[in-house]
Symmetry: C2
Subunit: 237 residues, 2 copies
DNA sequence: CAGTGGTCTAGACCACGTG
DNA sequence: ACGTGGTCTAGACCACTGA
């Protein structure tokens, strides 16, 4: 063991929490007590506690103490990329069209814009092993100088497109996942003969002022796409 | 402004990153330089930098410096609870059956157990507004003393069941989301006449030794369920 | 070698909560 | 008044990187 002292503190307390010695709601020993117990300075103890708080193990209440939390059992981390989330990644894309349109009323509402703005529409098909497996439709609020070069659009993911004209650090993203039956259009584009359910993922992007800057809808053949998410409690090895 | 100094440092640097003054890959001023710039001690500067690193803005490389990172644009946070993720929450549940069975080969494989263990099977229906909207099937590796009382099982979520005999802090969870057509059985149980796609969420739980302790599959009527996920870059207000 | 970040200390003062 | 956590300082020594 040549772990830094603050990590030893973290490990020790995590062990107590995982074993049940410390239960949710229980108070940890006071910081001064921990200083004595681990023969550490208060800053070192607090560094360890900060990590525990960050990992979601404890919560500090000023004037009272540090308390073991009830873990958030509903939280998962999901990695989504419309090009690689298929069971096999997308190996070919087909650009069906790029247009600049006058937004419809529905779009105006979804994008929360006024009528004098224009919208870029991008329609694509994704292929794996020669089969069309997803239909991808994106709407981006048009600003002058935005790249609408086919080459640049064809293989880009949605965040990739958006990053061309906005800082990724300021963008907020939302996903909506649902199961739907394909529309007649999608059915035709994906050459679906029998009834295949679609996994539909809608991406919505917002700028720093919380205004929508784009909406993307990707309809995956249900038999070609699965999304994975996992709880991420960090480990200390 | 009466923010603590370390948060002012965080805000200042975040502002520079969001505005593009600091680009991904750029090096921040050295910690000593930041001490001078903010008239702060090194521990205070480092506290700010630790937050920035935690939020995913920067990465420290010993001996070299602190560098602005390329944000992970594919990461989302998903909150999932099989009872509340419906467009309207579950307002009634029906327990179809609780059994202790000899696992089938498929189950043995999925749960990674040997044949001498038994498995609890729980089958439920979820209702909203009187309509059956989801079929819920769970397999839990049986251990002596596990609660299989109907009352306790009927309204519990999967994490709720598991927490009865395992510390939530040690559990790893995985979700798999897919779109499927209902089986004949599900179709009958949910009284589905026309073709309705199902949003199927599989939950898999692992104990501290990474061994599966349970699998749950919830099949939601596609027209009654949507999953939401969002990017969570924290704000400093 | 000088400069960088990583760990750690022994103090200090403050605001908060409880008696 | 006292103990709690929250902020902050001015040092120290170490390991790593690059010229």
């Amino acid at each position: 063991m040549e772990l830094p002292l603050y990590l030893k503190i973290v490990e020790d307390i995590v062990k107590d929490i995982k074993s049940g010695t410390l239960q949710p709601g229980d108070a940890l020993p006071s910081e001064n007590a921990l200083c004595d117990a681990f023969r550490a300075s208060r800053m070192t103890v607090r560094k360890g506690l900060a990590i525990l708080a960050n990992e979601g193990y404890i919560k500090s209440i000023p004037g009272k103490g540090n308390f073991v939390t009830t873990p958030n059992i509903e939280k998962y981390t999901l990695f989504y990329n419309e090009m690689t989330n298929l069971i096999n990644s997308v190996d070919k894309t087909q650009l069906l069209g790029v247009d600049i349109i006058q937004p419809t009323d529905n779009l105006l509402k979804s994008l929360n814009i006024t009528g004098n703005k224009k919208v870029i529409v991008i329609k694509r098909l994704f292929f794996t092993d020669g089969d069309p497996v997803a239909y991808d439709l994106k709407y981006l609020v048009y600003h002058k100088g935005m790249p609408i070069v086919e080459k640049e659009i064809k293989h880009e993911t949605f965040p990739g497109m958006v990053s061309k004209f906005a800082s990724l650090f300021t963008i907020k993203k939302e996903l909506t996942i649902s199961a739907q039956l394909p529309s007649a259009e999608v059915k035709k584009l994906l050459s679906l003969h029998s009834t295949v359910p679609m996994l539909v993922v809608e991406q919505k992007f917002f700028n720093a002022e919380n205004k929508p800057i784009g909406i993307g809808t990707t309809s995956f053949r249900g038999d070609y796409c699965q999304l994975f998410a996992s709880s991420s409690f960090s480990d200390f090895s």
